[in-house]
Amino acid sequence: MKNRFAISMALVGLALAAPARAGDVLVIQKDKTFSQQEITIRSGDRVVFRNEDSVVHNLYSTSPGFEFEIKTQLPGQSADERFDGKGEADVRCAIHPQMKLRVKVDR
């Protein structure tokens, strides 16, 4: 899990403070896109969504079993979401539809 987090950090290429727990994956919102288009995590892992844009975002998923909404997220704010179960969750921004992230959750 630590490796996955390290890879995720390398992908975004930014020296940021690490999320608190092993198993967390950081996804950054910048220039109205996600830093990754697809991530694979284990059930129970958390994904930390950080808004590094100058505009607000509003992430949500309607994928069965993974429904959630992170309400309005101001520039600079982080929020996390825990994914339990097995399957795929499509995460979108309700404002900016070009922001698309698939979260693959393994048991």
């Binding site: 100058s54 505009v55 909404e69």
Partner: protein
């Protein structure tokens, strides 16, 4: 807050100061097409023929081009569209300019592709009122359509999917031409007035227009509640559980915008001057879903006229569209 810092910057940067924003407005590559429907001249020609064919409506008098009229910047110039039996529709006809780059379609984003969008108004009882079964039968009965379909989609039947793909291929050719603004971005200093250049600076700073009206297409393809009064929930109809989607509509392009009055999704603002006033006051309808970016701007009269001068530089002088000879 980003807009606060931009405000301070704009005040410190007159005259000039706009150079740093110009690179964000250069035109991109040629119009994209999906792998499932690559564009070819045959597909575009078939699509153009279908687009302007009124037999795609139950009445036989409405084509796609009736509302998306190239002579009216691919809209109809009315506050709201008019459909089958002269029924007034719920929203203004959107322009088709630069839809090739779009993300979601219709004012509320309910179609995920142009192919999906194209059949909606044909089959809608309020619009062209022709069921897809009737549409297919009618086109199949026109002998001169057959070779056009065979050239465009060899081996595929005349069917709703091929009709939709052809129309989408044609719509991807509808691209706004080079405007004075583009020539200025490309280095022709005199292509737009000094007032328009100041308007461009305001557009990117104090007035915050570029937060959503971004890139050379002047849209972020996104959905915002900008405080237009009314009961139409727009994107919220399709995302009822999402607060910010309520009363949100897709950001329209600003290309050729001075040819496309009246404005907003419901045609409720008659002029660009009126639109600027709406933004200056931070929107008219204050609701929980109102976009946070909607703030009072406190634009001066000079600011407003500069913005207007800038918006008028976005209009291209495009060649008239030649109507196709329709198959019989």
């Amino acid at each position: 807050m980003p807009w606060a810092s931009s405000l301070a910057r704009s005040e410190a940067l007159t005259p000039g100061g706009y150079q740093e924003f110009m690179s964000g407005y250069r035109r991109g590559a040629a119009a994209p097409a999906p792998e499932t429907n690559p564009s070819t001249p045959e597909r575009e020609q078939l699509g153009k023929t279908l687009f302007f064919d009124p037999r795609l409506s139950a009445s036989g008098v409405m084509s796609c081009g009736t509302c998306h009229n190239p002579g009216l910047a691919w809209g109809d110039g009315m506050p709201k569209g008019v459909g089958h039996g002269m029924k007034t529709l719920g929203r203004r006809t959107p322009t088709l300019l630069n839809v090739a780059w779009g993300e979601l379609f219709f004012w509320d984003g309910r179609a995920a592709s142009l192919e999906e969008q194209a059949l909606g108004p044909i089959a809608s009882p309020d619009e062209m009122n022709l069921s897809l079964e009737q549409l297919t039968a009618r086109i199949r009965e026109i002998p001169e359509y057959r070779p056009l379909f065979e050239a465009a989609y060899p081996g595929e039947p005349i069917s709703p999917p091929t009709i939709a793909k052809a129309i989408a291929s044609y719509e991807r050719t509808i691209v706004s031409g080079s405007a004075p603004f583009d020539r200025w971005i490309d280095g022709a200093e005199d292509a737009i007035s000094e007032d328009a250049k100041r308007g461009f600076l305001l557009f990117n700073t104090k007035a915050q227009c570029s937060t959503c009206h971004a890139t050379w297409r002047f849209t972020d393809d996104a959905f915002h509640d900008i405080g237009v009064p009314g009961e139409d929930r727009g994107r919220g109809k399709h995302l009822p559980q999402i607060g910010v989607a309520q009363f949100a509509f897709k950001t329209p392009t600003l290309r050729n915008v001075d040819r496309r009055a009246p404005y907003m999704h419901d045609g409720s603002e008659p002029s660009l001057e009126a639109v600027i006033e709406l933004y200056d006051r931070g929107g008219k309808a204050v609701r929980p879903s109102l976009a946070r970016e909607m703030q009072r701007l406190d634009l001066s009269d000079g600011d407003k006229s500069a913005l207007l001068a800038f918006l008028k530089t976005l209009t291209s002088s495009d060649a008239p569209v030649a109507l196709p000879v329709l198959p019989r």
